[in-house]
Amino acid sequence: MTLPPGGVIREMGSTRKSRTGGWRSERPIIDMEKCIECGSCWIFCPDNSILVRVEGSRRIYSVDYDFCKGCGICANECPSGAITMVLEEK
């Protein structure tokens, strides 16, 4: 195996390819029925794994499971109990 000395990475943004979501043991599930669109989960997620998209007059929150580590911070911060942590099972 030939490697660049020091493990230099010449390709920008290559971390997108390292799907670290596999480290997760619990996954957050967002219930948009309960969500009040406060954005706390998006602010507190240490892994930038909360995704927001606008649909009509609503902001829809979802989780990027490729990178979410399942730390549960979003579920703890959510003021309306819209996020539940569910055990990952394969």
């Binding site: 000395p5 020091g6 990475i9 971390t15 390292s18």
Partner: protein, 388 residues
């Protein structure tokens, strides 16, 4: 034209830094390395060195600064000692892991506690596994010359590893010796500017020192070991080239042999104390040989095996001890090297000079006499010299 002058070892190092054309210096003063920091700072302030001098608040930062600078393709220098080296521990592995040719002088000093500002080699020996090349010098001239050689070795494409020049604190840093300052044009010929293939540049973005997952980390460590092995040859060649340009070299660059022809008793040692042994051997013990290990990392195993294969007794004297093993680190490594190398010499470990205790002529005489009595009944393997 080269110039002769008398100077402290620290000044000799500063002269080398001036001649090497470094771009960035960052260092934090600590006894007994302080004069290196002062002299290089003055040279930069006076315009004799055209470098950026970054003042830092700790050795951890000093090493971090030179790592960052080196990553952009700059030739860098730093110096430290003892507690400072210990504080750098984390960053030492970063420099070697990122394969950056950082050059640092370590003025060897004992570690606390109890506080000791005096010389031994426990500091650099304790970071032997950090992936740095370690070259130990005997004289002020050798400190200057080895600093110049260090850049050639570190920057060589087959190596790309940081180099630590280890010089005995006070014994060399604060002792005045005649030193030849090489001619600038000769140095330019010997040491061309540093032009790395890979370096940080906003026009060609890349990541240096990123995360390595378990599928790749081990391979990168293995690459470091291979580079160390390649460094053996590079160090020899750089020493030869240095000899061609400046008319002096140090053994084969890795080890220096003195009076080894037919010697049945051989002293192995490291650093400035070799000079005291040479004097005693020359005047009193013409039958004793001396092998000075200059390169401790990489350890020149083949040279050691070849040089020691005919000896009956090998006494390894050093200023460090691996507490818990109860021996000097070099002594245990010499044993490791000689294991399975055919006929086994008796190998003794001499621990001396810890915390600045002088290793005088009488100490050296004692070491040689114990080596000569190594085969007598009850002669031990480990000897603490001058222990009260």
């Amino acid at each position: 034209m080269p110039k002769w002058d008398v100077m402290h070892g620290s000044r000799a190092v500063a002269e080398a830094v001036r001649l090497a054309g470094v771009d960035v210096i960052a260092a934090y003063p600590i006894t007994p390395q302080t004069h290196i920091v002062e002299d290089t700072a003055k040279m930069v302030a006076d315009g004799e060195i055209k470098a950026e001098y970054v003042k830092v608040e700790s050795e951890h930062s000093a090493m971090s600064v030179v790592i960052g600078a080196c990553g952009t393709g700059a030739r860098v220098f730093t110096a430290t000692s003892s507690q400072g080296l210990a504080l750098m521990f984390e960053m030492l592995f970063v420099a070697s892991g990122m394969r950056l040719p950082v050059v640092m002088v370590n003025a060897n000093r004992a570690l606390s506690a109890p506080i000791s500002i005096w010389n031994d080699q426990q500091d650099s020996i304790s970071v032997r596994d950090s992936g740095w090349i370690q070259l130990y010098v005997e004289t002020n001239q050798e400190a200057l010359d080895t600093t110049l050689m260090a850049y050639r070795i570190a920057e060589d494409e087959r190596v790309q590893l940081p180099v630590m020049i280890c010089m005995d604190g006070f014994v060399l840093t604060h002792t005045v010796e005649p030193v030849e300052i090489p001619d600038e044009e000769d140095v330019k010929r010997f040491l061309p500017p540093y032009r790395p293939k890979v370096y940080l540049d906003p026009r060609d973005p890349m990541a240096l020192g990123p995360i390595a997952f378990p599928n790749i980390y081990m391979e990168l460590r293995n690459e470091q070991q291979k580079a160390m092995e390649q460094a053996l040859d590079v160090i020899r060649k750089v020493n030869d080239e240095f000899k061609e340009v400046f008319g002096r070299g140090y053994g084969n660059g890795l080890v220096e042999e003195f009076n080894m022809d037919g010697a049945e008793t051989v002293i192995v040692t490291i650093g400035s104390v070799a000079g005291t042994f040479k004097d005693v051997i020359e005047e009193e013990h013409p039958d004793v040989g001396l092998l000075r290990v200059k390169s401790f990392r990489p350890l020149p195993k083949d040279d050691l095996r070849r040089a020691l294969s005919k000896a009956k007794v090998v006494g390894v004297l050093e200023k460090d001890v691996s507490i818990g093993l109860g021996k000097g680190a070099l002594a245990s490594e010499v044993r490791d090297v000689m294991y399975g190398a055919g006929r086994q010499p008796r190998i003794l470990s001499f621990i001396a000079g810890l915390g600045g205790r002088d290793i005088g002529i009488d100490s050296v005489r004692e070491v040689i006499s114990r080596c000569k009595k190594a085969h007598e009944d009850g002669a031990g393997d480990v000897h603490w010299i001058d222990l009260k």
